[in-house]
């Protein structure tokens, strides 16, 4: 597989910042995310980049004073085609006075135009897509919390089946736990000095918003039984059906705490089942510093598996679904455990980069301590890596990009619509990388864009099975995952040498099935939900 960084020639020239270089405070260490979205409905994936801020501005934000938005707080790049992007941030009316963390997008009001959500240390911003290339900040009107808080990952999903996308936002550390008026406390990690946290710091609670269907949301966290009772340090959130019962569930990757898996009871409430489902802690029952979350069917078994990226001197657990809703951390038995020990992992995902019909795992890595070189086993700058699962075992990782930076948020997309999945990854500071997949021997492929008409327009929660040349692949339309980022919302399958698809089965949220026979391959096909 061949990837080349084309960010500069494509015009992606954002300058990422995240506090100062010394990383004395925990907000300076965690980076931010990206979202791929087609905001102008031209069939090309545009790119939203969320940026951090400075400690000076963070002190103002934490004290309740909102500083003016700095240039470069957000970047919206319109995909012009031909491998070129145009910075349309100002034209689109996008700016963030807060410290941006997460990027997300969804057509929350089902008007046919993708809206934008930016989570922040400060207040989260919901930008309504006006349909003319501009956006309007409707956060306050929509009822998002006005509390100054540290939010991170987010995901959209219709948990109550009313056809409207609800929203889950993860909280990380309570700002009360950071006394920014004092010199930064120093904590010891394996003999090196670093910032303190998140262990020992009070967590910021997560929030579940119900979409009222009139452009507003209501906080239903308690009512839906998803109250963050442990005040865990939440990072990445995913809406997907994790136990195959047809109802969309919520997974939350928690940093230095057990992960949550909220199983949807179907009555507007959830039951937390992280531990009994096997995804809360590692195979040995240890809590891990979970950052990113990759969700997908890694071995074409017909249901989703799950991986979280974690801290160095620990491994990334791969939770394989063994029975409906029962996962097992199989990292040890698939030869994967030791490969990730030196890395602090962040953005991640499963995608078929070589279109051979098997998904690879990709992870973007980078330590949080600039002095990590002093650790015997790690370093600050770490690679973007790719793993292939073959005959039940992971191959040695392929380094997609050398350890030239310390990476954070990132997402996959086929930005040039050539059927090969590309990657964008943000560093903690500096220029993003846009890794164009230039693999010459990639196989055939197919892509689908779902359009809900009764269900939510983005089709989030729908499941697809592709049957071709005797094999069957599965994927679901999910929201959230990776790290503070959003992948290309279209569904992509590699087909290898197979040159025709027998049929595609779509199961829409609610269980209605739709069959698409012999769709064209090597192109993106729209699938609209039948009205009946």
């Amino acid at each position: 597989m061949v990837f080349r960084d084309v960010a500069a020639s494509a015009g992606i020239n954002a300058q990422i910042r995240c506090g100062g270089p010394e990383k004395k405070w925990i907000p300076e260490a965690n980076g931010s995310g990206v979202a791929w979205l087609d905001y102008d409905n031209d069939g090309l994936m545009d790119l939203l980049i969320v940026n951090g801020s400075s400690m000076r501005d963070l002190r103002l934000i934490a004290s309740g004073t909102i500083p003016p938005a700095q240039p470069g707080s957000l970047y919206l790049y319109r995909n012009l085609g031909g491998g070129h992007f145009e910075d349309v941030t100002l034209k689109a009316g996008l700016a963030n006075p807060y410290w941006g963390t997460g990027a997300n997008a969804a057509d929350f009001d089902n008007d046919g135009f993708t809206d934008i959500l930016v989570t922040s240390i400060g207040r989260d911003l919901l930008f309504h897509n006006n349909g003319d290339g501009t956006f309007t900040d409707i956060s306050q009107k929509a009822g998002l919390t006005r509390k100054i808080a540290w939010h991170t990952g987010s995901a959209f999903g219709d948990y109550d089946g009313d056809g409207k996308l609800d929203l889950y936002v993860a909280g990380y550390v309570s700002l009360d736990a950071l006394d920014l008026s004092q010199p930064a406390p120093v904590c010891n990690y394996r003999g090196i000095a670093g910032f303190c946290g998140p262990r020992g710091m009070k967590g910021e609670p997560d929030i579940l918003y119900h979409n009222n269907g009139d452009g507003t949301f209501t906080d239903v966290t308690e009512r839906a039984h998803v109250k963050d009772t442990g005040l865990y340090h939440g990072f990445s959130v995913v809406f997907d059906d994790f136990n195959g019962d047809g109802k969309i569930d919520i997974f939350v990757a928690n940093d230095s705490d057990p992960n949550y898996l909220y199983l949807n009871r179907g009555d507007g409430t959830f039951k937390e089942a992280g531990l009994p489902s096997g995804v809360a802690v590692s195979a040995d029952g240890n809590t891990q510093a979970n950052m990113g979350a990759a969700v997908g069917d890694i071995d074409n078994a017909g249901h989703v598996d799950l991986l979280t990226t974690t801290f160095s001197e620990d491994y990334f657990p791969l939770f394989k679904q063994q029975q409906p809703g029962v996962f097992e951390d199989v990292s040890g038995s698939v030869g994967f455990r030791n490969a990730t020990l030196p890395w602090v992992g962040w953005a991640c995902g499963f995608a078929d980069f070589d279109n051979d019909g098997h998904r690879e795992l990709w992870t973007a890595n980078g330590h949080v301590y600039p002095n990590a070189e002093k650790l015997a086993t790690s370093s600050y700058n770490q690679p973007i890596a790719l793993f292939s699962l073959r005959r039940g075992s992971f191959d040695r990782p392929v380094v997609v990009l050398d350890a030239a930076n310390s990476h954070r948020g990132g997402a996959t997309a086929d930005f040039n619509n050539d059927g090969r999945m590309d990657l964008v990854v943000l560093p903690i500071a500096g220029r993003p990388v846009l890794l164009e997949n230039q693999s010459g021997s990639a196989g055939n492929w197919c892509g689908f864009r779902l359009r809900g008409r009764i269900n939510n327009r983005d089709g989030i929660g729908a499941k697809l099975w592709v049957e071709a040349c005797g094999s069957k692949q599965f994927e679901s339309v999910r929201s959230g995952g990776s790290y503070l980022s959003r992948n290309d919302p279209r569904i992509h399958f590699g087909l290898g040498k197979c040159s025709a698809i027998e049929r595609v089965t779509v199961e829409w949220p609610g269980g209605k099935r739709q069959i698409v026979r012999k769709p064209e391959i090597n192109r993106y096909v729209d699938i609209e939900e039948p009205r009946q």
């Binding site: 090196i192 000095a193 038995s333 030869g335």
Partner: protein, 495 residues
């Protein structure tokens, strides 16, 4: 433990005892004397195999002569026939309990098999007969070290060291005092957590481990508590100078805190001064046998042990800087300071000096292990097991490397062998469970989890794993019970 399997040819020669055949018939006496002469000649020419044959003939003719059995045991021991050697020594000890050699060698053989309790009994019998024998006292020290009885180990090793500055003995003294220091610092931290002396000890530990940033931060905090202490200011300046993120120095004053172990590091004594300083500190040790009544007393004890550990290592270097032990100590010091590859080079030099010394390959393997170079760890672990097939930890780690590479069949063999040698190790049980679970052999998997839980009742992992297996088996109630235990232990860990 880290001594050669063979106590050395000198020890063996000393252990060979003279035999008088006065109780035998005259004709038999002649035959025995002739065989004895041939045996002695064989020993002198280094042909221990032939000596064993001759002594076998002697004990057949005169089965009540304890010395003949003792010499037979020596001959067998020196050619590696430990089973026959042990039988001969046991017979000798039974016939004449006042012979030191058989007790000593039975102890050495038990020691080599890591059977420290048994070894301690045999060495204690030898010590009763020859209380001042430095070799016996040294082995008693090594054995007590293996049993974690560091106070007794130090006492025996000090006696042994008084008989001559042997690098092996000094090395073990250094390790023993190091363990005593660790224990004393631990006690200080538990009994006087948050005290000034506890903080000071932690700062020293960071500094000794070259963790400059953490050390500077600790001294900075201490300086705020004692802004007038000049010694602290010096330490802060010293640690800060070695880190890129130097915190500002803001303390000055006159009072001093004695930080003996660190001042030794900065100005190591040599020659007579080293010997005098060592003796002076060693003379304080008996006073630390009681529980220290205050944080300061606990701190002083810990500092003294730490200083003695360091001075003993200096004595090794002074004795012979090119010795195996000197290189080993340099390696350990480099490793502690994070210089892994430099440490490996020193361990390799130590191996060149003494290829048969146990734990050197293991030390190299551990560095490869912790830096995730498993392919390189594997041959080192195998080499360690050639030198010391009874190293249960090496067996376990090699099993783990093999399991990680997917070779569960061979891994299983190593885990089982490790358990055979060290039945109280919980780790191989946990690894075996994973192997059996992967084979869906759940009864066996559960059996090993139960064993791990019994050996380490506060460990939550076995319960989490058991819950997973019970879920797979559809035993929901059992799964819930184990998960409840897991959560209980987890919350106890947090507290």
């Amino acid at each position: 433990m880290w001594i050669s399997k063979n106590p050395g040819s000198d020890a063996l020669r000393r252990a060979v005892v003279g035999i008088a055949f006065t109780a035998c018939l005259f004709a038999q006496q002649e035959k025995l004397a002739s065989l004895y002469q041939e045996a002695q000649q064989a020993v002198a020419s280094g042909n221990q195999g032939l000596a064993a044959e001759k002594y076998e003939q002697i004990v057949k003719l005169a089965p009540s002569i304890a010395e003949a059995f003792a010499n037979l045991g020596n001959a067998y021991y020196s050619i590696g026939k430990t089973g026959q050697a042990a039988a001969a020594f046991r017979r000798a000890a039974k016939l004449k309990p006042q012979l030191t050699g058989p007790h000593f060698f039975l102890g050495v053989m038990a020691f080599n098999e890591h059977s420290y309790e048994t070894a301690a009994k045999h060495f204690a019998s030898a010590e009763k007969l020859e209380p001042a024998n430095p070799l016996v006292r040294a082995y008693l020290g090594y054995t007590d070290y293996g049993l974690g009885r560091y106070d007794e180990a130090a006492r025996h090793l000090e006696v042994a060291a008084a008989g001559g500055a042997d690098p092996d003995i000094l090395y073990h003294l250094s390790k023993t005092y190091g363990q005593l220091a660790k224990k004393a610092y631990g006690d200080l931290h538990v009994r006087f957590a948050g005290s000034l002396y506890d903080d000071l000890a932690q700062a020293h530990a960071h500094e000794a481990a070259h963790e400059w940033e953490a050390a500077a931060e600790s001294y900075q905090r201490l300086s705020k508590r004692m802004p007038d202490n000049a010694a602290l200011r010096r330490r802060l300046e010293s640690a800060s100078a070695k880190t890129a993120n130097a915190p500002p120095v803001d303390a000055a004053g006159n009072d001093e805190i004695v930080d003996a172990s660190l001042s030794l590091l900065e100005a190591p004594p040599s020659g007579e001064k080293l010997a005098d300083r060592y003796q002076e500190l060693a003379s304080r040790v008996p006073a630390f046998s009681n529980t220290p009544p205050s944080a300061e007393a606990a701190y002083r004890a810990a500092e003294t042990f730490q200083s003695l550990a360091y001075l003993a290592s200096l004595r090794v270097l002074e004795e012979d800087a090119s010795s195996c032990r000197a290189h080993q100590l340099k390696g350990e010091s480099l490793e502690a300071a994070g210089g892994n590859d430099e440490a490996i080079a020193e361990y390799q030099k130590a191996l060149q000096a003494k290829p048969e010394l146990p734990t050197l390959h293991f030390a190299i393997a551990n560095i490869y292990w912790k830096t995730n170079r498993l392919a390189q760890a594997s041959p080192e672990l195998r080499s360690e097991l050639q030198v010391d097939p009874n190293n249960a930890q090496a067996l376990y780690e090699l099993g783990d490397v093999l399991a990680d590479s997917g070779n569960s069949v061979e891994a299983e063999r190593y885990f089982l062998k490790a358990l055979q040698l060290q039945p109280r190790m919980p780790e191989p049980h946990l690894s075996l469970e994973k192997i059996y679970s992967a084979r869906a052999d759940y009864p066996k998997a559960l059996q090993h989890l139960q064993a791990a839980s019994t050996l380490d009742p506060l460990n939550s992992t076995p319960h989490y794993r058991m819950a997973g297996i019970y879920r797979k088996l559809g035993r929901a109630a059992d799964a819930e019970k184990e998960m409840a235990l897991f959560e209980h232990l987890k919350s106890a860990e947090k507290r």
